[in-house]
Symmetry: D2
Subunit: 311 residues, 4 copies
């Protein structure tokens, strides 16, 4: 059976993005020995628009141009047109960052198997000035750095431990032990490599979470490269919209919204009443207000809006 070529005119060329073709296969370095490079991609900004016009047909004619439509789609959290683009990367990542990465389930992965092959002979090293201190405030974060002089000792003990671990690995292999078992005591930050393929909708979700200041530094470095170096080149209109409506957006809760409305009406008393009703204004034992996480989050938002905290 031959396709009916009467409509030859419809014959398509595959979408190409010159700015991305430019860097296809070229590695971006991340961390001390990691990398990200584009292996292949499907679609471009126009492919998103095309898919949306299939769905919404005449409804999209009101939106005059591609940029406007992409911005509309992202602003209103339409998702399926963004699934129409696909990116395939080759990455080299420490396994402890990869453990976080792989939690994003909506992606396809081929990772180097250390059952089949030797483990990569590289683990992530930390510069003396790059040891981060535990955040006091944020149970899961870091904040500031250890003095470089003190860091020197930790970089030394890191090297020593990594060398020890590799020596044990090599001894096991030399004795004929199975690769799948020999690897068991390698450091978590041993590098691994993978092909990682994901659609744009899920990629943007990954980037929103992993470019966030609360994400761990290591994976944030990868996400930032993927976002700013790769997606921005690949899909400039989508990237601009993503920065405006996702990275730069702020969500206000039902209560915060009611407070803003009270403040908009210059009714501070009403804003305080709302806060009191919500249990935000309980006195602390030692005077002042008791610690209340949601109230403190709200106060920070009000300050960013140049509004006076009414309580």
């Amino acid at each position: 059976m031959e396709p009916q070529k009467e409509s030859q005119a419809e014959k398509l060329a595959r979408p190409r993005v010159a700015a991305l073709d430019e860097i296809l296969g070229v590695p971006f370095r991340v961390l001390d020995d990691g990398l990200v490079r584009v292996v292949d991609y499907m679609g471009d900004d126009a492919a998103i628009v095309q898919a949306a016009r299939v769905s919404y047909g005449a409804g999209t004619k009101a939106v005059s141009d591609d940029r406007g439509l992409i911005r509309y789609l992202l602003r209103h959290r339409h998702t399926t047109p963004f699934e129409m683009c696909e990116l395939k990367l080759h990455v080299r990542v420490p396994m402890d960052a990869w453990r976080q990465w792989i939690r994003h389930r909506m992606a396809s992965v081929n990772e180097t198997s250390t059952r089949y092959s030797l483990a990569i002979d590289a683990a992530q090293r930390t510069e003396p000035g790059a040891w981060r201190l535990q955040s006091g405030d944020n149970k899961q974060g870091s904040e500031g750095f250890l003095a470089e002089a003190a860091g020197l000792a930790f970089s030394g003990s890191e090297s020593e431990l990594q060398e020890h671990a590799r020596r044990v690995y090599d001894e096991r292999l030399a004795a004929g032990l199975a690769r799948e078992q020999a690897r068991k005591d390698l450091p978590l930050c041993t590098y691994t490599e993978a092909y990682w393929k994901i659609d744009l909708h899920n990629l943007l979700h990954f980037l929103a979470l992993r470019m966030d200041p609360h994400a761990q530094r290591e994976i944030r470095d990868y996400a930032t490269v993927i976002g700013r170096q790769i997606v921005a080149r690949w899909l400039p209109l989508t990237w601009e919209a993503f920065e405006d409506y996702r990275l730069g957006a702020v969500v206000y809760s039902r209560l915060e919204q009611a407070m803003l409305a009270a403040l908009g009406a210059r009714d501070s008393a009403q804003a305080c009443a709302l806060a009191r009703e919500a249990g935000w204004l309980k006195p602390a034992a030692g005077g002042g207000l008791a610690r209340h996480r949601e109230r403190q989050e709200c106060e920070e938002k009000l300050r960013e809006l140049n509004l006076t905290i009414p309580w």
Copy 2:
């Protein structure tokens, strides 16, 4: 092999929710002949807390109680603890609403097969006063109702067409035609039945989209019953948080956020400058400002905050 019962003390009882057990299997009627009923469920508010404490361990001790932790999780868009609850429903839905429903892929479905069985002998009927007019503003919506007198004719032609379709279906079956082919001209709104099972995270996403005023009336009716009658009984703390942080929340874009900050600082000129720079303030041919969808959305938000539109 027997499990090691030394830690018998750890033996668990399954979580139960009395308020949901109360209505297990009892149908909620929707539309003229549809229904939703709970067949089974897994987990309760405490199961969400339990899963979160596994993940965040000591980090969650700072949050004093279950309610606070659930609210924190939902406010900060944590998702995995909400996947730990599961709901299984039996639904009866017109196929045209079901076509929208089934687009939510992260669910498990067993739908009545009209290849195996006779199609249900019921199609959704419309009351004379329930014919909706096309929205002028919203390409995909409806707005207001046709006068009941005029609706009478449409309810009549609806009956007639549905009876015609059923007659043709029955004639085909009587002649021994295959069920899978006989059904082909049944009306889209013919009822179907299904078991639908979904985890809570995905269910909340479904509800956020389908309880929205922009969702089609029919599926909105189902979503509203599932949300307000079922989830609210099942998981009262999660439901409260969902209303506060999702249903009642408002998102401001990077630009809107900058405008609110300018207005907070009483700097209308700066707000106007931002709008102008973004291309929002182009003059219309006939005077006034040209139509600009994003500006209009922003104006509506400002009005809700009792703020004066600065341009």
Copy 3:
């Protein structure tokens, strides 16, 4: 930040498949008014091999060539390397076939919305000789055709019903009723259009189910075109392996396997003993063996292997 171009030599070109580029955008007709055409694709046979070599590294060197490796991967049900290819189609399908199609959740879809746009003015028509009879044996299947003379009447009543439905739809729209409601009584077989994007692993799963003789004729026609006209051109090595190890493969249960081993050892008595033990050989009331579906399936398999049924 610029990518480090020292390894410029690694720069990649995107994989292209000339045989597929040849038909990009060109519609294959299906049914009376349906179509399938390729909009875009990612990857080729070599991309599967490349991903597998990342995973299995040295382990794959034993397999001398691409064909051998692809056959090995498919034979042993490796799945992730096949996820590395992606296909995007534009399809036009009757909604009742689409209802089956969309049950495959691991795909991305943008379907024409009949809330935004007018419903397509075409429903699938049946030729007088194409009315299928209900299978007696298979509750969900069809078998043979109604005589063309008798079919003539059914094709006539089909036209009449479809015209009636369209007239009612048009009257509703003319009266200003909402598109989302006006459509409710259109025939199930009204055509719809969609962009459908899926990775190769999931596509092969779709094809295995929908090219199967038990699949409904309509969707089987689509699946066959996608398989034989599109995938076979795109990925000739994978397609060949798929035919050998999936379409043409047969599964034997633990018991069937034991029976074949008994028959291999020319021990019919043992084969009968196994069957008896499994409850396959109960006498029917009227003499002979009672109906037993699994035994009958096994008998059919034995006949295909030119083996004498031992009981």
Copy 4:
């Protein structure tokens, strides 16, 4: 709104499985310090039947009982009814086994975060007699054990390395370094804990892959406990069918099937001709047949069927 209680008679009780309730929360020990325990579950064998009867309606009446229907569904690879059951486990697993486990994407996971909390102070230890040798045949497997005397040294160097790694971890924490960074050099086999929730269809897929003799010993131990200790108690009919139609089943390729048919017809020449055509019978340089993986796999199957290899 109250549910319409006229059909009170329909009110359901949740399905319970006494044999599983018996062990709810009770840990099964795995490896030296791992565990698996059931936290909650949804559904039972009858729930699978119930969902299938919704789908296939009258079509399932032909199958007389639950056991027959479950066996039919599993034999014919129906999947959706098995998605109607759900299992939630608490597991404690070495991270290197967990890395394999987590590759099964269709599950919900809450894992202990070592950003929030201290890493568990336990890594998997290997007994002197439990060091496995690399398989010569199977690039990814192990085969046999190192002599216990030699293993003693490896168990010693394992302890030493694990203590070294923990000491470095503790020193980092003592110096106030961030937990997220301090953990980076812990051994891959450090234990982690998680809640893992999965539906039965995906669980069976996991078990088929991970109970397989080719799976790595460590994850196989977990899978075996989940299958034989938990699923077998929970869903005895499904488990029996799974053993018969999945664990014990054998797949024959199109070519193998043709060969079996030739051998069934006592036509060895035809079987040889098929093999020759497929390129299986090329002579080796040193005499005999050249190595051909697929032919060797087939030979093994023929031997299991007590058939003489025809070439």
